[in-house]
């Protein structure tokens, strides 16, 4: 099976509101596929249609070749789901949560018990298997939720914001697990707000905005489409008051942004800007602490495609000089 997931013209209306607008894409078997988008873009609605929770207004979806509506039982046998909220049974123990999931998949008793034991040991929760999940931390509940999705040894796993709001240890455990599952041949469909995470983990990403797919490609190819978003990061030992304005006015600099103790200068010509910064440093008797050229990140692509930055710019007049991030745009840089 070449395509693990195929969505064709998936559309969802809530009353008159169009939440997902004729979305089509394919996810190859064994692929880690990232689904990115701002809040309200249609990510969760899409995942809910793909997993059978919600019925599409139009369009179809298939899982390992099975239509999610017409062959729903066969399609659902192929997948495990980790929703954005850890929907575990809080009044049941960790063990009973997994056993009940095994029963929903009609797994024979011996098989579900051995699988539950294996998963609880894998997630480091076997010693606490008899405790009610109610008393578990958020990260532990998340791990139980992922373990429940893996009970049936499914071919595809859907993860909706799997690391959102978790502590660093839980995030690292979950990321490592996703990599291992993918190495074992599982197809992973992941939605995340963490763009760097998607960049590191996904073979391909789709960016959805206002219910429409803005682009689908590998993270590196997407980054290469925004050459204009290359930048130079520079930090000085001490910076004069009007430095942001002056850096923004350097030749070939399209935009200057203050980020903490650093300044980020966007440009199409990083080498020219490096020379300009050196000259500026010399003429103002400044001391450079660090200077780096930075390629476009997936976040830059995301911002570029979704227009999130426009919203920030609209808010800018209200900002003060002391704001953490300040930005100067020099139109000459684009000329």
């Amino acid at each position: 099976m070449d395509n693990a997931i195929k969505a064709s013209n998936l559309t969802k209306y809530y009353g008159k509101f169009l939440a997902v607008d004729h979305v089509s894409f394919e996810v190859k078997s064994g692929e880690v596929f990232g689904f990115l988008g701002p809040n309200g873009a249609g990510k969760t609605t899409t995942i809910r249609m793909l997993t059978g929770v919600s019925i599409p207004t139009e369009g179809t979806a298939s899982i390992m070749g099975y239509d999610i509506r017409r062959q729903s039982v066969s399609a659902k046998e192929q997948m495990g789901i980790v929703p954005d909220v850890s929907n575990v049974y809080k009044d049941l123990s960790a063990w009973d949560n997994l056993i009940f999931t095994g029963k929903l998949y009609d797994m024979p008793k011996a098989f579900r018990e051995s699988r539950a034991e294996e998963l609880l040991k894998m997630f480091g929760l076997y010693e606490r298997r008899k405790e009610r999940v109610k008393g578990f931390s958020r990260g532990m509940k998340r791990r139980i939720c992922i373990a429940m999705a893996l009970m049936n040894r499914s071919s595809i796993i859907f993860l909706d914001e799997p690391t959102s709001g978790l502590d660093v240890q839980s995030v690292l455990i979950i990321r490592d697990l996703i990599r291992k599952l993918n190495q074992q041949g599982l197809t992973i469909f992941i939605t995340t707000h963490n763009i760097e995470e998607a960049s590191q983990m996904c073979d391909r990403v789709a960016i959805i905005n206002h219910g429409k797919i803005a682009t689908i490609d590998t993270p590196e190819k997407l980054k290469s489409t925004v050459e204009s978003l290359q930048s130079v990061e520079v930090a000085f030992e001490s910076a004069p008051q009007n430095i942001l304005k002056e850096l923004g006015e350097l030749p070939q600099v399209s935009e200057a942004v203050k980020q903490g103790d650093k300044f980020k200068l966007f440009t199409r010509e990083p080498s020219s800007v490096l020379a300009s910064i050196w000259n500026y440093t010399q003429s103002n008797n400044l001391k450079l602490l660090t200077i780096n050229t930075v390629g476009p990140s997936l976040e830059d692509v995301f911002v570029n495609l979704t227009g999130i930055k426009l919203a920030t710019e609209q808010e800018e007049p209200e900002k003060t000089e002391n704001d953490k991030t300040q930005k100067i745009t020099n139109m000459r840089g684009n000329q």
């Binding site: 929770v53 729903s72 929907n87 575990v88 809080k90 029963k103 929903l104 998949y105």
Partner: protein, 253 residues
């Protein structure tokens, strides 16, 4: 390695039972289940009986009917909104099982709860008041069909999109309480005007009261056969409408 899959019908039944067993374990002792399923019918019964100089032994079929009615129809409206709030209801929708089996499991939870609670007045009637069960088949039919119909009624109301018990229980009580007045609970159907008797025929509770009275050696106004047919028909309609409402919810979600 894939899970070993077994026969389709057997699988659906096993999953339905697993859902019911989980509901029994998790929700039977929740305060709303006790409040609306046990305290409510017993309190109503006592409020109606105390001080009216009614022979308690003759009132036992009424108490059985009320407990069957309230207990069976309360589990779905308690369980489903709580599961919606926790998003655990979505687990059923994403598992490889039909919507019918999910609702069968939920209905079974109400049937067992209603039956267990309603056995109490039967035993109290026999042991304390010397009531007799003269027709065991009628009593079994009364329990089986009434608990099924009322549990399905609860599931139907639980299809109302809501994430709190109150959002479902309020409209359900809006229907349940008026039914008490037209179903031979407070006034025997034979004493009602003819047009009220026709309305009474439409209430499923009328037929539960009829069968419970008939099983205890009393009379049933519409006859036991009609009672059985009407309760069976209501059970089928409630299950069918519940499935339809749940599909509508999935379209709206």
């Amino acid at each position: 390695m894939k899970a070993v899959h077994r026969s389709h019908v057997g699988r659906e039944l096993r999953v339905a039972w697993a859902i019911a067993a989980k509901d029994m374990r998790t929700y039977y002792t929740q305060p709303p289940s006790i409040m609306f399923g046990i305290l409510f019918p017993f309190t109503l019964f006592l409020a109606f009986t105390i001080g009216r100089n009614l022979p308690l032994a003759e009132q036992i079929p009424i108490l059985i009917s009320q407990t069957l009615f309230f207990a069976s129809s309360s589990i779905g409206p308690v369980v489903i909104p709580l599961e919606r709030a926790d998003q655990t209801f979505d687990r059923f929708l994403t598992s490889p099982v039909s919507l019918l089996s999910i609702l069968m499991g939920k209905t079974l939870g109400g049937i067992i709860y209603g039956t267990l609670i309603s056995i109490i007045p039967v035993l109290v009637g026999i042991i304390v008041f010397g009531s007799q069960i003269t027709n065991l088949a009628a009593l079994i039919a009364c329990f089986a069909l009434s608990s099924l119909a009322f549990s399905a009624l609860g599931i139907l109301f639980a299809s109302i999109p809501g994430q709190t018990v109150g959002q479902v229980m309020m409209p359900l009580n809006f229907v349940r309480i008026p039914l008490l007045f037209i179903s031979g609970v407070f006034t025997p159907i034979g004493q009602l005007p003819v047009w009220m008797q026709a309305v009474s025929f439409l209430s499923p509770l009328t037929h539960t009261v009829g069968l419970a009275s008939y099983a205890s050696g009393g009379e049933t106004f519409f006859g036991p056969v009609l009672n059985v047919i009407v309760l069976g028909a209501y059970a089928a309609v409630f299950v069918f409408v519940s499935i339809h409402f749940n599909i509508m919810n999935q379209r709206k979600q």
